[in-house]
Symmetry: C2
Subunit: 337 residues, 2 copies
């Protein structure tokens, strides 16, 4: 006998009535409802989600695919999770590591779980996995893949980057090195645009030899920084703008290994705030993403989209502010002299 039937027997009603009591209590007479609820509470019964989802052809589950699980993503995930829980949604988590195979697997597995929707940090492979997203409500988080029908929740990347670079320029820097992520990722592209925009405004022409593209991981930040600083002090950059957290960490390590003092020998502006950035001596100036809120908003957008499913729903494109926070790591050039 299935579990629902047990409760039914206990309460002296049919299985259908138990089900109704649990899902649409207004359809059930007050007295019956009470009897059923008593039986439910006494046994600690909770309907089998799998059976329910199978029957309804959709689950109370959403997928969350992140590209990695560093502190930035952890905060993102927490924002999504907390919000999802409030909505009675469960989260199945995947990490794509920016890999084609893993993203494919994640999306494929996910489909077989009939999720209500999906929150996804897209990768450069997402477009070719388009078919795996068919019929799913998708919210792209942090980056965007260019798929027209997905909602997006991002920050003002260009603006944030421009602010940081303007700040460096206002301090008197003219040779500002930059380290971005891979150019086919939207965040990297937009942040690079902001960098160029700020330079152009100031009448500085952007020198391509001062630009590097890493892969958003610490090691590539280190390598890129070492390359940028591999030259005589007279010609090398007097400031660096690094466009994500991990690569900023890599840059800090590189600067140490070169014995360069921040900001005396070189100014550093990073991206993504963290306690590391805050507690570093000196504290690192950063473009501070509202990370937790990004997660929350992504989930909210998803929930809203799921609710209004019937209506002709507008695709939402949210952009949150990511203010530049000047701290001790940025100072006028040659301040050591």
């Amino acid at each position: 006998m299935n579990r629902l039937a047990e409760i039914a027997k206990l309460a002296g009603v049919s299985a259908a009535t138990v089900s109704r009591t649990l899902t649409r209590p207004e359809l059930v007479a007050e007295r019956t409802r009470r009897r059923v609820m008593n039986a439910v509470q006494a046994t600690g019964f909770r309907p089998n989600e799998l059976a329910r989802s199978l029957k309804q052809s959709t689950s109370r589950t959403i997928g969350l695919v992140v590209t990695d699980l560093n502190p930035f993503h952890a905060t993102l995930v927490k924002g999504v999770q907390d919000t999802a829980e409030q909505q009675g949604l469960n989260v199945i988590l995947f990490t794509s590591d920016d890999s084609q195979a893993r993203e494919h697997e994640a999306l494929s597995v996910l489909r077989s779980h009939m999720p209500q929707g999906l929150i996804l940090i897209p990768t450069t492979h997402t477009r070719q996995h388009r078919h795996l997203l068919r019929g799913l409500t998708v919210v792209e988080l942090d980056r965007e893949s260019g798929l027209g029908d997905a909602h997006t929740v991002q920050i003002h990347n260009r603006k944030g980057a421009a602010e940081a670079v303007r700040h460096l320029i206002s301090l008197g820097h003219t040779r500002i090195g930059a380290i971005f992520g891979q150019p086919h990722i939207s965040t990297a592209r937009e942040r690079a645009l902001g960098y160029r925009e700020a330079l152009a405004e100031a009448g500085l022409n952007s020198d391509e030899t001062l630009i590097r593209h890493g892969d958003d991981l610490e090691a590539s930040g280190r390598t890129a920084a070492l390359e940028l600083l591999d030259g005589p002090a007279e010609t090398r950059p007097t400031a660096l703008f690094v466009s994500n957290h991990e690569m900023t960490v890599g840059t800090i390590i590189a600067l140490r290994s070169l014995g360069l003092r921040i900001p005396a020998d070189i100014s550093l502006a990073g991206f993504d705030d963290s306690r590391l950035m805050l507690l570093h001596e000196p504290p690192i100036s950063v473009v501070a993403q509202p990370t937790y809120e990004l997660g929350v908003r992504a989930c909210e957008v998803l929930v809203q989209a799921l609710k209004g499913e019937q209506d002709v729903q507008e695709v939402q494109h949210l952009r949150l502010e990511a203010p530049f926070v000047p701290r001790g790591s940025t100072a006028p050039p040659w301040s050591a002299r």
Copy 2:
């Protein structure tokens, strides 16, 4: 028509044969198998996990309940995730925030998903949720709740803590303040034991006024440190041992606000390594947990337990080494003078 039946029609076989081809291909004739696989590949078919799990009364899913989602947990989760994926297991993630209600909800929801097993950072409430774990293979990670039938994967807390304190003693410290988590949590208790053990070995009697208990969050570390250092320099501790990462961060912040230099004015030994600890100036001496590996091992223990389900299986209790890593934050007392 259900999706399996579609494939069946396409390949000119019955649904059962498609199912067999996918789950136990050795039972199907070579030729048939090829025809089925063609149809499967052509359509990108993947069986509905919900239906499969419902039928089999168990899913290819495991639950993962963490107490929070800070960088330490993120690494733990990543270890679990990566390993689970290799085993074809999906992870449903929950955060209990050490709250009774949230842990209850997490475990209750989880049950309704018929997971194969559960990896759990237990809380002080876990024992009273015992009934929600019935029939589930459980691996307790990081801490232990004392439930006899759960596997556990932890570090040598006592040993790690003792090493750290011995190091401080060997530097000449005799008044060593300590900040632990709540004493009803196993890690806090064990680390406190290690602290006392090291003091006892050295013939130092442990002074209860030098001990504080926080809640493993940053703010409580800050508060506790401020309390411990609220006194004349002559009587206050010359070194602090803080038994988790977040509270160590809080302590660093407290020391800064008091204008105390590390290690000149006070030595600091923390728990849990991170880039923050490493890049801090000076780098913080810590008991370094093998965090990622803890996650991996927890998942491995779970998988192994699931495999050997039939046999009378021994309950596994793993303890990994957490070596103390001395760095610049610990030095002889009064080294400033």
